[in-house]
């Protein structure tokens, strides 16, 4: 399957420069989401300082948007924290999936890398590492640029939030789903994985409708990935 040059191109340039260029497509996906977060936090009554702090310390788009909604609805801080834990627990799986590529990294480098592990950096790194291994300079350049952009986009959202009243016509709320579609297309490597995607996606919907609201993503991921493994092992056995 053909992939975009920004994923497959070799390290002809210095690592950090290559890392910058790899960050660019996500920058364009981050901007609307970060801006949307800034606007919504502003409207919910969260101070600009706290809004920026959340983007610096938490740095997990969907959970930040969920937290804003909960805080606005007057939910207790502890409930917000527990919800965040469950919503972001999927990073456990992402971190595990990247760990085989990071064998030679020092602990302090792993600690810094893990802090900036998001859905988007994961999608780019997992695709990139599979092609070219984990280049430290490149990886950290990508991560640093992206978190900087995330914080700047948040700030921009705070400013915009003070100016305009209605944000729905801008379709900012579609940036995240559209980005997941694009990342999914880049990730799928064979027909088994098309099946894994459809199965895990539909299972997440079924679980959600069954009332399992916070755990549906994690459960669907574990079951979907396991099913894909069985299919691969079964096809390998029957063909050998």
């Amino acid at each position: 399957m053909k992939n975009a040059p920004w994923i497959t191109a070799g390290p002809a340039r210095p690592g950090w420069l290559s890392g910058l260029s790899r960050a660019l497509p996500i920058v364009l996906g981050y901007l609307p989401i970060g801006v949307a977060f800034g606007i919504l936090a502003q409207k919910a009554g969260i101070s600009p300082a706290n809004t920026l702090l959340m983007s610096v310390l938490v740095y997990a788009g969907s959970s930040q948007l969920i937290a804003v909604g909960l805080l606005e609805a007057g939910v207790s801080g502890l409930s917000v924290i527990l919800t965040t834990l469950v919503v972001n627990l999927r990073h456990l799986l992402m971190s595990a999936a990247l760990s085989p590529y990071l064998r030679k990294w020092r602990k302090v480098e792993l600690a810094a890398f893990a802090f900036e592990l998001t859905d988007e950096t994961f999608a780019v790194h997992s695709t990139r590492f599979a092609y070219a291994g984990a280049n430290k300079a490149e990886t950290f350049a990508t991560n640093a640029v992206l978190q900087t952009v995330w914080v700047l986009a948040t700030w921009l959202g705070i400013v915009i939030g003070q100016l305009i009243v209605h944000t729905q016509p801008l379709a900012l709320d579609y940036a995240l789903p559209a980005m997941f579609i694009a990342l999914l297309v880049l990730q799928i490597k064979d027909r088994t994985q098309v099946g894994v995607a459809i199965f895990a996606g539909l299972l997440a919907v079924v679980l959600l409708r069954a009332g399992i609201e916070r755990w549906n993503v994690i459960l669907a991921t574990v079951v979907g990935a396991t099913l894909g493994l069985w299919v691969t092992q079964w096809t390998n056995k029957s063909s050998s």
Partner: protein, 109 residues
């Protein structure tokens, strides 16, 4: 809103978000994982992205809805086509947002 409560909540959110990001790379990266485990982990990206995506485009106002009132579902079609053709991120995100914004403008107009 009490900004001190928000501040403490943010610190708690940061902690519970960082620990799950850290633990697997911290403990697994120095180990040899068995082949089936590696094969399983290779399926995780696809599964987790789909599990996050499908509910957001299939469920509308609390119900599975494939009708025209669910703009997110119909906007997914041009988004998917552009993603498939360009294999990038910016073009599909721009097309998807334009599709939703355009449809909202038409419906409101």
């Amino acid at each position: 809103m009490d900004q001190q409560v928000v501040f403490v909540t943010i610190l708690g959110m940061a902690l519970v978000t960082y620990v799950p990001r850290l633990i697997p790379v911290w403990f697994l990266s120095s180990r040899n994982l068995p082949a089936p485990m590696l094969a399983w982990l290779r399926n995780v990206p696809v599964a987790v992205l789909a599990a996050m995506l499908f509910p957001s485009i299939l469920v509308h106002e609390g119900h599975v809805n494939l009708g025209f009132s669910n703009l997110f579902f119909w906007a997914a079609i041009p988004t998917l086509l552009v993603a498939w053709k360009t294999r990038g991120l910016f073009a599909p995100v721009a097309v998807g947002m334009l599709a939703v914004a355009g449809a909202r403008a038409l419906l409101a107009g």
